[in-house]
């Protein structure tokens, strides 16, 4: 590659990065500004003050919302890993009649948009007495067809002979699952965990429906609530809260980007 071409490409890359990162950087800058600077429409704060961050934690129960989101996201992630890996194991290592039909049933769940079922789902959760409970925010999401597929792809790379040999040696099915299948699939499981955590942390519509007080409300809904209350005057505080909300998932994404890309490609295309 010629030097000319190379520098042209770097210019393109930098311009694109500026375009993609602008809203995020802009939000971070606003979060450090004092009220007056925000209202003048400045791009950079004159000095970096953490006052908005302090106020965000003081004026709304942000810490409480963050804890709720953490509890919900970790629970859903664990639930999805357990439920999906069990199903994927059955689809790869247990041969039984009707397996293909069941697999087709799993595929078909991907065609049902979650929004098309939200009204009866809300009524079910209400009847179960799960409104404003962690259970409504977690349990309905434990089964995940995408996760089952992703792990099935991975489990299929384990030689079936290994399973047969373990059977001959008298090792139980569950022990094989626990001691062999899961450990060798660590990478795929981490990928799925990152994906699950990211999507659960960022969930919006369902937490909006099933929480109406601060008890188990997640941070995304807390953010919306804050924005509608503070929008007129306190943009700096709202932006500080927004930055706090995206920080965990951004860090997770940056740390796991390579994994995630590989896993998503595998789950998507094969």
């Amino acid at each position: 590659m010629s030097l000319m071409k190379k520098s042209l490409l770097y210019v393109l890359l930098v311009l694109s990065a500026l375009f993609m990162m602008f809203p995020i950087v802009y939000a971070v800058m606003i979060s450090f500004m004092q009220g007056g600077e925000v209202l003048q429409g400045k791009l950079l704060p004159s000095s970096f003050s953490f006052e908005n961050y302090q106020s965000a934690f003081q004026q709304v129960p942000l810490l409480h919302f963050l804890m709720n989101s953490l509890i919900v996201s970790v629970t859903v992630t664990a639930g999805q890993l357990i439920v999906s890996s069990l199903a994927a194991f059955a689809f790869v290592f247990i041969k039984f009649r009707g397996r293909n039909t069941l697999f087709f049933l799993f595929i078909s769940t991907m065609m049902i948009p979650w929004e098309a079922t939200m009204v009866p789902n809300y009524l079910i959760v209400q009847k179960l007495g799960w409104i404003n409970q962690y259970s409504s925010l977690t349990i309905p999401f434990f089964a995940l067809a995408f996760g089952t597929f992703l792990l099935r792809q991975q489990f299929k790379t384990i030689p079936y002979e290994l399973f047969e040999a373990s059977q001959v040696a008298g090792i139980s099915r569950f022990r094989f699952f626990w001691k062999v299948v899961l450990p060798v699939s660590k990478t795929s499981i981490i990928t799925l965990a990152i994906y699950s955590f990211l999507t659960t942390w960022n969930m919006y519509l369902w937490p909006l429906l099933v929480t109406n007080n601060e008890k188990v409300r997640t941070v995304q809904i807390g953010l919306k609530q804050m924005q509608s209350q503070e929008v007129s005057s306190e943009w700096g505080i709202v932006m500080a809260a927004a930055v706090i909300v995206v920080l965990p998932t951004l860090i997770l994404l940056f740390a796991g980007q390579k994994h995630l890309q590989k896993g998503l490609t595998q789950g998507a295309i094969k």
């Binding site: 993609m20 059955a90 769940t109 079910i124 998932t249 998503l264």
Partner: protein, 294 residues
């Protein structure tokens, strides 16, 4: 327990699948059937069916100006977000797939919107669209134009929400497309180079055909996602001004949880389901024919 005979295999197979099947049954299949059922009824404010009315909910919807408007808003929204979003992500994936020093940093930056929640992103864009202090109007003022109330003008509100959505969705589409690009066999490019093919020729004759399954996949996913948009509408415009951004999921939400009309909401949900089903079937049909698999 001795394994290997048919019955115990069936039993333990179902045992491993039990959690999934139970959850899908309670929170997906049953609600889907219930949605179809409710769409054929008048309902009380608690969402219980009162009187069977057949397809009346549907015929009412198809004649109501509000619903037709919502269908139009959804259609336009899909049109605004899907092609532009894919082109942007494809462009980013192509330049991020080059072998240059420090390219990893750019890949990370380009994928970053995947970590941004809809709520946080919408709030940031809301500020950018702010008529008096937002960056868009500040820029316009700088080059001598009047500012504009982007989200309050029915002519620009949907476009403004679409623009922010394109940005929000780029990270995910970028990651998928980059993965697709990296799966292309390096040797194809080597032999093209030996025969003296230029980079545009390589893009048209190797990259795009080999990427077509991925492109096709991401098109389908983007279409489906676009039909399901909710969060940015709820935060940025609440369906307004004058219904111009009242896309279908927002309309379902309003009918069910603001107007307490579960019947009408369910009928709309059934229509949404068929739209998405049509897109998915199209993906399989067209995908088999048109797409070039390795």
């Amino acid at each position: 327990m001795k394994t290997g005979n048919g019955l115990s295999d069936l039993g333990s197979g179902l045992l491993y699948l039990l959690p999934s099947l139970l959850l899908f049954g309670v929170f997906l299949f049953y609600p889907m059937i219930r949605t179809i059922y409710l769409s054929l009824f008048y309902t009380d404010p608690q969402g219980n069916p009162i009187a069977f009315i057949g397809l009346e909910n549907f015929t009412y919807l198809l004649q109501s100006e509000e619903f037709l408007n919502s269908a139009k808003a959804t259609g336009l929204f899909v049109l605004y977000t899907v092609p532009a979003g894919i082109l942007l992500s494809l462009f980013l994936a192509l330049i991020a797939n080059l072998k240059l020093k420090g390219i990893g940093i750019f890949r990370t930056l380009f994928s970053s919107t995947m970590g941004m929640s809809v709520a946080a992103s919408s709030i940031i864009w809301m500020f950018m669209y702010n008529p008096s202090i937002g960056v868009f109007n500040k820029l316009l003022n700088l080059i001598g134009f009047e500012g504009h109330s982007w989200l309050l003008d029915p002519n620009t509100a949907l476009l403004a929400v679409a623009l922010s959505t394109i940005w929000m969705n780029t990270g995910f589409a970028f990651l998928i497309l980059l993965g697709g690009l990296q799966n292309i066999d390096e040797q194809l490019y080597e032999s093209a180079k030996i025969s003296g093919a230029g980079s545009f020729y390589q893009l048209r004759r190797i990259t795009l055909p080999m990427l077509s399954p991925t492109l096709f996949f991401i098109t389908t996913v983007s279409l489906i996602n676009s039909f399901q948009t909710f969060g940015q509408i709820d935060i940025l415009t609440k369906g307004g001004p004058v219904q111009s951004t009242n896309v279908i999921v927002y309309s379902i939400y309003q009918d069910a949880f603001v107007n307490y009309n579960a019947g009408s909401a369910s009928a709309q949900a059934v229509l949404l389901f068929f739209c998405i089903l049509a897109v998915t079937i199209l993906q399989f049909r067209l995908g088999e024919k048109k797409v070039h698999y390795q």
